[in-house]
Symmetry: C3
Subunit: 333 residues, 3 copies
Amino acid sequence: MERFNDLADFSAAEIQELIALANRLDHTPEPQALEGKVLSLLFLNPSLRTLASFQSAMVRLGGGSFVISPDMSIHGLETRPGIVMDGEAAEHIREAVPVIASYGDAIGIRAFAQRRDIDTDVADREFDELAGLAGCPVINMESAIQHPCQSLADWKTLDDLNIPSNKGKFVLSWAYHPKALPLAVPSSTLKMAAMRGMDVTVLRPEGFELPDAVMQKAQSLAEQSGGSVTESNDRREAMNGAHIIYAKSWSSTRHYGDAVADKALREELVDWCVDEPWFEPARDDCRFMHCLPVRRGVVVTDRILDGPRSVVIQEARNRLYAQMAVLYRMLKG
Amino acid sequence: MERFNDLADFSAAEIQELIALANRLDHTPEPQALEGKVLSLLFLNPSLRTLASFQSAMVRLGGGSFVISPDMSIHGLETRPGIVMDGEAAEHIREAVPVIASYGDAIGIRAFAQRRDIDTDVADREFDELAGLAGCPVINMESAIQHPCQSLADWKTLDDLNIPSNKGKFVLSWAYHPKALPLAVPSSTLKMAAMRGMDVTVLRPEGFELPDAVMQKAQSLAEQSGGSVTESNDRREAMNGAHIIYAKSWSSTRHYGDAVADKALREELVDWCVDEPWFEPARDDCRFMHCLPVRRGVVVTDRILDGPRSVVIQEARNRLYAQMAVLYRMLKG
Amino acid sequence: MERFNDLADFSAAEIQELIALANRLDHTPEPQALEGKVLSLLFLNPSLRTLASFQSAMVRLGGGSFVISPDMSIHGLETRPGIVMDGEAAEHIREAVPVIASYGDAIGIRAFAQRRDIDTDVADREFDELAGLAGCPVINMESAIQHPCQSLADWKTLDDLNIPSNKGKFVLSWAYHPKALPLAVPSSTLKMAAMRGMDVTVLRPEGFELPDAVMQKAQSLAEQSGGSVTESNDRREAMNGAHIIYAKSWSSTRHYGDAVADKALREELVDWCVDEPWFEPARDDCRFMHCLPVRRGVVVTDRILDGPRSVVIQEARNRLYAQMAVLYRMLKG
């Protein structure tokens, strides 16, 4: 495996094999599998779960990792091509990325969306440029539009919970958050659930539609898998018979890159905080998923997070084993 | 071992076994003992020795660790229950701690005292809450009132120096410091020396008495071990015949949480800087101990630290082997 | 090996053996060679390549490392002897260094020049003091006047490229940079090329002469190796027939420690940006070397860095294997 960037780059059968490998590594440790192997971890944005779970994954497989992160005194990495570097930045990504990559057997890269131009972000231009500079296999640790490690863990979580793939009803719901957040998680989650063959509803207020390219890709994946993808702004209709509600906040696509207009629109939507009444039309055992970090009392109430519906800790733990499977396949073959 | 929180949770024989294990691991490396095992390290306050020694300990035993620390861009972890998280904090400890814990086989947690309310701190409520959220064994890496890793290393240091346990005279002395520091080290040190069966004197100015609950626990431990615990503000009397002076600054308990009153009181006490004249009534070979970091010329003079009495580097080195013993017992059984 | 501080402390034959070992470790991994061994990494200044490559090196050899860096909340390490520590610094290097060293089997230390007094910096007094406090083998990870890891990697790069040692022409050229940078890399590079037996020209503007002690040491090394060392401020003459141009900016030695005068002098020299016309009198296959990080469009143009002359990524990758050889020799014998 040369790149782990998008679940949709793999067949459903290949994803299922990765999940089977994740389960095997959970139950049967292989602490010498990646002996002497090194994972380079390049964070251009902060991280907690991804940082911790990748480091743990490499140790559990007998290797190790190192971290280059924005918390370090790197003085900013220049990304603009052709620039005369007479300002603050002392290093360009055209040197930093190939060098960091050359110290590892694979590299994980995190680079969030710029959130200036939606086409640039949906096309994932910045991540592709960074990944293209690395001379070794690359793992996407969240880019402008992808978060495949989260989606692989989520797929495993759905399997662990015995949520049906065909006829399983999955609601991806926008939720309130004071900040305009990236599109990576909702886009990846939508594609994951569609690939898994589920009936997916994107529940979101007007102005927060997911990008056309993402919706079309999800439709096409659903056609192959026997699932379906629909959109709604009607909470009651969307939640009808749901097995899962996956909550996430994201930027307004109508006002993408316009912080003032986004804020004005979202401030009307503070009632998009997932709470028990949302579940009234759903299945009794409908579960609550979220990628974390989550703002309590804002995105979702305490009673949901602390109650039996929530599987957020299980999801986060599955990051570890999902990533171990990817690393194993990438570095051991 | 499910929790390493307080030496007093163990019998003296169990502590001696841990120290014997620490000595064995110092002399006979076991670099495959914890192969593939991971220690999660969560620092809510900064660290140098603890950070370095735990990471080293895991490598020496064949495993590894990862660090989540306040130096990272975590944007603050929210700790208040029931709060609506619409401010800066993006994550609550109710998610962060179980998730971080789930990536390791054990977790070390550091959380200093809030120093607002002495009863809360002496009861160690914050640490107990954090530890209760972890689904794996927990090591206290310094809390409001405990520092068991330091105390285990200090006990080993006393053994290494052949300081007698019964009839050994141990002076725990307050020292000047410009800041109001936590009670964790003096409280843990007092209990350690009492458990070891030593005759312990707490030498401190008026207003800096250790909390009643700590003194009573130490008295009770001394009764079991055949040691004794007394208090004094008379330096000459306290140091008479001493084998050890263990210096440490701590907050005024009379003015706990009142920074202005604490400062006014301590500023009269700049002469509480340990120097050679202190040792005049002590044994000729009386040693100087301190947990580090130490302010030179403030807590203790250069000539003591650089002279033959000081064993502070040896103490710090013993942190490594003490912690290796705890990890070995916790993760290998 | 007790200290790796200066290539000139070793014979050319010993350096060649280290490079042969680096090549062997590149082609034949030994992932159990340093099982259970720990490298302490103490950075008093920031780092990217050194930080990443040393961590990777230890994992590849089966051991591990920990990092203490200026990005952490260490509150500054006091370095002044005899000081009363009643200010911000909570710890003195006289405790910090021996303690950190005691947790590892070797320690790497980075401490840049103070750039106040040139004699202090050329004598490397600060680094020697730090290294003297460590009770284990010490690796210089860049000091005021040394960068032996870079130089060992550069020597290996020259070998990899089949650049002749005797009669090979090596130009060490000053380049423009908006900041006054340390003398460590040019000084180490000059000595390395002289030791390798090359004909070395130091190409620099007036006011940027390398220190006499460095030039004299290089002359003496060249005499032993059959190489030569000359200085020039004539670009065309210096580049005549060159195999290599090694670019680096450094402080004005005429105005050492005088930021205003240095700035006034260097601002006249923005045309010292390496570009294709520089290569006209050189060999057709003349290569461009630089230790990185490099400012594009300032020190060197994009077309050189992105073209076939540049070997900067290869140089940086060789850091990993050069350091693995040093660690192997130091820790395995």
